[in-house]
């Protein structure tokens, strides 16, 4: 019996698997095993976790916040998607921009701008106070739920919209022809088909809330949350004993993993084959029924765009220390950011630039191996590459610091660890993007090129890669925009002198210097927005085509 020779793809698979194991599996195992070790006080992390009330409260609070935000996001996202898919009305084009807002406004800026409006010193709070009305403190549950809802409802909106658009409207006509009135048809025919998509995106929101760091830390205050406690125990435990941070991280991994398994189960069970996806034409709304829908949609759009307006205004408003002098304009904040404190901008550009390029190379190659060159190793690559979905940024950061702090691969302290953290966090997206494109490229193209005498690696470069260019370009923009906005992992792994813009904004918010934070925020939004505008207008790239 002759063996197939180990070809070049096999060795590339081995290399990819080794890298993923080193930077992903090894840190994860470090976190999990450290949680089982005994702390200096002699108690294991799990005993402390169960023994101390604040940890128990944190777990309960986190689950509750996740559940509540999931519900509120769904309550906004689903009706909005239905209205957008089925009706046309004045100003509808604005709704199409909504998915962009989560992309353009990083979480840390969303939290900050909400504070500038409704915080203790916020515009609205002060205006109401002038009239003698005291609105409740924005810190705590009120702020957490409000801000996270308006960040995360877009995920439900996008998921639901895609499902409704893919739904065959003929099924509704069939139901009505069988004598079921339109309203009940919707409940009996469409809801069961689109429900799995809604549930799946709702569960995704749940995992994002559990892992959320920026909003939770900035607005949580006296509400104990898992991600905040994890970060705090990391900051206080550095160099000593990593038991508590690991234990808390393990709890968050467990919660997110459960949600993700539930999500996979729902998606795999609920995949109905729609034979002929002829979507319904949007029906123009007329008369009075138009008003509530238009107003409702407009309110959501305005609230979603509010952070953007606030950050622009804040960046050009004079401030003395923490006091914003609204109405007095200045360019001093922007000048300071560019002239005397531009390090965070430079750091962000360098780290995110390197990470984006590496991420595209790694995910294109890994996607190609997973989709086109299956061998005994590729399932491992596939599983490992989706692992970061279960790790919040904080957890990943802690794992990386624990694993590469001195010893044989001392990355901690260098900028490299920030790049690695970026790279790993965006890996699942990059690989899924590449795989989706590759599934649409028939295998026969590769065979055709090889049959014409071009060796396998050159065939990949000459035939497959050119066809992937549009999707790689789209991925490049999306990876870039999400990477420059990354906070939760980088804030854990960075060292002094490596502050990125989100880290700097985070620290300025902590010191209540909102004008400075807004100035950095505006630059950050610009760095995100410019590539998106160039990609969509100059190169006509459909950014959401493969999502």
């Amino acid at each position: 019996m002759t063996h197939t020779p180990r070809d070049v793809w096999f060795w590339l698979s081995a290399l990819a698997l080794a890298l993923f194991a080193l930077f992903l599996l090894y840190p994860l195992l470090n976190v999990l095993s450290a949680s089982l070790a005994a702390s200096p006080s002699g108690q294991s992390g799990w005993a402390t976790l169960l023994g101390e009330a604040r940890y128990r409260t944190a777990i309960v609070n986190t689950l509750m916040l996740g559940a509540v935000v999931t519900v509120t996001s769904t309550l906004i996202g689903v009706p909005l998607a239905f209205v957008a898919a089925r009706f046309s009305f004045p100003g509808k084009a604005l709704i199409a921009l909504l998915p962009m807002t989560t992309l353009i406004v990083p979480e840390v800026i969303a939290a900050q701008t909400w504070l500038m409006i409704l915080g203790n010193n916020g515009i609205v709070t002060r205006a109401f106070a002038d009239w003698g009305i005291l609105i409740p403190s924005f810190y705590g549950w009120f702020g957490l739920i409000t801000v996270m809802t308006f960040i995360y409802y877009t995920y439900v909106y996008i998921g639901t919209l895609a499902a409704i658009k893919g739904f065959d409207a003929q099924l509704e006509e069939a139901s009505q022809s069988l004598g079921v009135p339109p309203g009940r048809t919707l409940l009996r025919v469409m809801v069961p088909v689109v429900a799995p998509s809604i549930l799946a995106s709702a569960l995704l929101v749940f995992t994002l809330v559990v892992g959320n760091f920026a909003v939770a830390t900035i607005l949580g205050q006296r509400v104990h949350l898992l991600s905040v406690l994890t970060y705090q125990s990391f900051v206080s435990e550095v160099g000593t004993n990593p038991v508590m941070q690991s234990t808390l991280a393990s709890v968050s991994i467990a919660i997110v993993a459960c949600a993700l398994f539930a999500q996979r189960w729902i998606v795999s069970r609920g995949r109905f084959e729609i034979v002929q996806g002829r979507g319904a034409k949007p029906r123009p709304l007329g008369g009075l029924s138009m008003l509530p829908i238009t107003i409702g949609a407009a309110v959501i759009v305005v609230i979603s765009l509010l952070p953007l307006a606030t950050v622009v205004a804040g960046a050009f408003t004079r401030a003395r220390g923490p006091v914003m002098r609204w109405g007095e304009w200045t360019t001093a904040n922007m000048e300071r950011v560019f002239l005397s404190a531009s390090d965070p901008i430079v750091n962000t550009l360098i780290f995110a630039g390197i990470a984006t390029v590496l991420s595209l190379i790694v995910s294109t190659l890994a996607g190609f191996l997973i989709v086109k060159k299956r061998n005994i190793l590729t399932p491992g690559i596939d599983y490992l590459s989706s692992l970061p979905l279960a790790l919040s940024g904080t957890v990943l950061g802690i794992g990386l610091v624990m694993s590469f702090n001195g010893a044989w691969l001392p990355l901690a302290g260098s900028g490299a660890i920030v790049v690695v953290a970026y790279l790993i966090r965006r890996l699942p997206f990059g690989i899924r993007n590449a795989s989706a494109t590759l599934y649409n490229i028939p295998n026969s193209l590769e065979d055709a090129s090889i049959s014409l005498g071009v060796p396998p690696v050159r065939t990949f470069l000459k035939v497959i890669l050119p066809l992937m260019v549009p999707s790689i370009a789209a991925a490049c923009v999306l990876v870039w925009t999400t990477t420059v906005a990354e906070l939760s992992a980088s804030v854990v792994v960075y060292s002094a002198g490596q502050e990125t813009m989100p880290i700097q904004i985070f620290r300025l918010i902590d010191s209540n210097l909102m004008a400075q934070a807004s100035a950095y925020g505006l630059v950050l939004v610009g760095i995100i927005l410019v590539p998106i505008l160039i990609a969509t207008t100059v190169f006509k790239i459909d950014l959401f085509a493969t999502k």
Binding site: M1, T2, S444, D447, A448, S451, L452, G453, V463
Partner: protein
């Protein structure tokens, strides 16, 4: 150019390989068709010849050149795919030039060759178009030009016509047949369509579960099938269980009993006595008045009559209730449903095979 020699080829893993110990000789310059239902291993065999599927055991040679373990890109093959596999981002010209550029042919020579082959497939005017701007038939002709332009040792075609509609299929079939004859290249074509196989092939290999059931000319497979399976797959046939009275030692005919009636039909040498299968093509049967001649005939009743233009199809039932289809060409007999008729078997065109 060269023929293809396959010796004791085994492909696939485990105890039930996709292809088990297959040997086949394809003569230089001929068009050989691998015919069979889906899952019979014909595409696997073609892809093994191309070099995309590794050989577990056995030998594969193009002429005197052993290519058993040679990678696909060094085998010097031209391949035509079911879904055309044209590079969507390259023009028709660049698609056809692709293999020549890989061989570092200089651009002026490439231009001559590409023009020549585009001319041959009648697409000279489309050189600068992208594949998306072509019809299905045009795409497959570009694919054919691309495969032939590199002047390969062998041409391999995987269901090249199955994505085309009926009318185009006949047109592209003609193009393939003409080009293959002009170029004189050894060609292996995979198809599940027996009509396509009969029309195009010099020889046909009928595959069944990874083994060659019969190899021969189209006439061999149609008129002299070695088994009921071949008879049924190639064209339509009445397959009837019969009893062989005396084993055939040599000679060409045998006496068989069908529903108690004795018939004289063709038989292979060495057919044992006992149960066997009678293969009777509809057009070899003839109907006569019930009162007419009774040699080599059995009594039947007409159950259905269908006028189909060039022929008339009858379904008749024997007294034992067995259905038999008779195709009458030209002026059809005027029998109506319910008429008693005499069904005559042609002793030199009806065949008995082992069951």
């Amino acid at each position: 150019m060269a023929g293809i020699r396959i010796e004791n080829l085994v492909v696939g893993y485990g105890t039930e390989p996709v292809i088990s110990s297959l040997s086949l000789e394809i003569a230089d310059g001929t068009l050989f068709t691998l015919l069979g239902p889906s899952g019979c291993g014909k595409t696997t065999l073609l892809r093994t010849i191309a070099g995309f599927v590794p050989v577990r055991a056995g030998k594969l040679a193009f002429g005197n050149r052993d290519v058993t373990h040679r990678p696909a890109y060094l085998r010097d093959i031209g391949m035509v795919f079911q879904d055309y596999a044209l590079f969507p981002d390259k023009s028709v010209y660049d698609n056809v030039a692709y293999g020549l550029r890989a061989r570092r042919v200089d651009e002026t020579a490439i231009k001559t060759t590409v023009s020549e082959y585009l001319e041959r497939v009648g697409l000279s005017a489309f050189a600068q178009r992208l594949p998306a701007a072509l019809s299905g038939g045009q795409r497959q002709r570009v694919a054919l030009a691309r495969a032939l332009a590199i002047k390969p040792t062998v041409l391999l075609m995987d269901e090249p016509l199955s994505n085309l509609d009926a009318k185009l299929r006949v047109q592209v079939r003609e193009t393939i047949a003409d080009l293959q004859r002009e170029v004189g290249i050894t060609t292996v074509l995979v198809t599940h369509d027996q009509e396509e196989a009969l029309a195009l092939s010099d020889r046909i290999g009928l595959l069944r579960m990874g083994r060659l059931e019969q190899v021969g000319t189209p006439e061999d497979l149609y008129a002299r099938p070695v088994s009921a399976y071949v008879a049924d797959f190639v064209g339509a046939a009445n397959i009837l269980p019969v009893e062989v009275a005396v084993p055939t030692i040599s000679g060409a005919s045998a006496q068989v009993r069908l529903d108690g009636m004795s018939l004289e039909v063709l038989a292979p040498t060495g057919l044992p006595a006992g149960a066997a299968i009678l293969v009777a093509r509809g057009e070899t049967l003839s109907l006569g008045a019930a009162s007419g001649a009774t040699t080599n005939a059995i009594r039947c009743t007409v159950r259905r009559r269908q006028y189909l233009g060039g022929r008339t199809s009858f379904r008749v039932a024997t007294d034992a209730g067995r259905d038999i289809v008779v195709e009458a060409h030209g002026a059809a007999p005027t029998f109506a449903v319910g008429d008693k008729v005499s069904l005559r078997f042609d002793p030199v065109r009806t065949l008995v095979v082992a069951s």
